[in-house]
Amino acid sequence: MSDEVKWDKSISDVNDAILIGIDSPQKSYYFALAASVVCLLIGVVAWALQISYGMGLSGLNSPVYWGVYITNFVFWVGIGHAGTLISAILFLFRAKWRNSINRSAEAMTVFAVITAGLFPLIHVGRIWFAPYWMAPLPNTNNLWVNFRSPLIWDVFAISTYLTVSLLFWYMGLVPDLASIRDRVKGVRRLVYGLMSFGWTGSVRQWHHYEAGYGCRAALATPLVLSVHSIVSWDLAMSIQPGWHTTIFPPYFVAGAILSGCAMVYTLVVPLRWMFKLESYIRPEHLEACLKLTLLTSTIVAYAYGIEFFVAWYSGNPFEWGIFEKRATGPYAFYFWTMVFCNCVFPLLLWSRRVRYHIPTAYAICVLVNIGMWFERYNIIVSGLVEDFIPGSWGHYEPSLTEMAITVGSFGWFFFWFFIFCRFFPLVSMSELKLIMPKPWSSDKLKKIQGANPHA
């Protein structure tokens, strides 16, 4: 793939171009950071009110006990998956295009999982007990968590995922941190020196690094499949019609990768412009990400179809009742938004012209993000409103508190992402150099301004 990439820079330009963003960010960067802080504060206020006054503020009520918070939880965990897919699985497959976007994808994974991890805490009734009661800690009362509950499996899945992605991401950062250390002075040099663990770039170090990086990639690979499977079991393990289906694990994994790839695109395109990385994150790399989006979109479309078919074919009236109402009942708007955003609009990506037309492709990716949020909302809410006994049917719409916390979660995610952009290289410099052309010949070098002979 990268053989077809038309590079206009060589590896000697990489360090200067990428680290300039750390030294002197654009104005747009500060604007984006401020916007994310405002969103975060909205969420913080809403959560504080909810903790002080009670879960009643969330607007949930019988029979819908899970709403926007769990939707957000599943959404954010899903976002993370594409990051691991791009950084770990595509590394093992030696897909070269990943090298320009893998750092941002991994950062996205780490921050998305941290954001997701907040939602079970926002969701529970007694936040003041939940964080340590949910952990299987030995205690004098000999009380243990219920190991048969999928919610506990979730605790293990998410904490494992966060640990592995954090280590993988950090390990990839070490050579780049050493490059920054060599450029800066004073306290910053000390801090970056400590963070890069005395990396010198010797052959011996690279040898160990490559082996370790490969091992971590192999360790992260099964997590791409397992984590969202376990998240789907939160729903599939119950007997609720509309939730209790065996298709959920693969369906959720495909959906997670779809939303994640769309999110990578949604993030990388503005950052590429904000940090002037157009020469390093090439349109060909972005196009490859779109192809992955298209692939997973078709898998998701197939899953939607099969889910309906099985609901009808099972002959279970409760199951079919849920599905019928999902498409035609009070939640039909959510359902059809989901279908159009996730299955219909991405079909435009079959066209090569659309894939290379960044504004159109960007709009499609934003729509996919919206559609994937609606998918989770649709599954969770429409599965709960109308189940076995008509007497206990109900209706639910998101409340102001829930929406404010959702806005806050985006603020939280982008806040950490922008902080990351300010202090760490947004593109993996050491890996980018593996796929970029060697320094130009002396004739060509004269033509290129600002080439750094020392790099």
């Binding site: 009670g54 949930l60 019988s62 006990y65 009734g125 939940a130 949910m134 119950s238 279970n316 189940d387």
Partner: protein
């Protein structure tokens, strides 16, 4: 359920096919209930039931405190089991039409045992999917007695579900 161990994930309420669980969304205003000291002290409301704070799930516990009392009493008197009328649950006690029967299913002669064996008795969602009933095999301890409505077409009685 153990109220003081609950963190309120509300998973049980989602999973409940009868949707009988209720969640404490707000802090109850115990202090506004009365002027007397015992009305303001939450522990005075019902000494048999743990006080539920906000953020905790709850459901009918079949008057567990009363059952315990009745069992202790039966043991003290040397009875083999709790007999009819030795315990009455709160809803039964207050039901104006006396529609609720509560008792010991292990006692074959109790009123509830006889009522449950009645051909009108059915279990809500308790049917057996293997025999064409779209139930969940929850095998609930609560059974209802179906209304019998005279069907104009067939002289025989047809069953229609109704609360009893």
């Amino acid at each position: 359920m153990t109220y003081n161990r609950c963190v309120g994930t509300r998973y049980c309420a989602n999973a409940c096919p009868y949707k009988v669980r209720r969640f404490n969304w707000w802090t109850h205003k115990w202090g506004e209930m009365g002027k007397r000291l015992q009305d303001r002290n939450p522990r005075a409301l019902n000494p048999d039931v743990t006080v539920r704070t906000r953020g905790v799930m709850e459901k009918c516990n079949m008057c567990l405190g009363r059952l315990r009392d009745a069992k202790h009493q039966a043991k003290q008197f040397g009875h083999e089991m709790v007999r009819d009328n030795e315990v009455r649950v709160a809803c039964q006690q207050t039901c104006p039409s006396d529609a609720i029967v509560f008792g010991n299913l292990n006692d074959p002669n109790s009123r509830i045992s006889r009522a449950r064996k009645d051909h009108r008795a059915y279990l809500l969602l308790g049917g057996d999917p293997e025999h064409g009933h779209y139930g969940l095999k929850t095998l609930p301890n609560v059974s209802y007695l179906a209304d019998i409505i005279q069907d104009g077409h067939t002289q025989e009685g047809s069953h229609e579900s109704g609360h009893n």
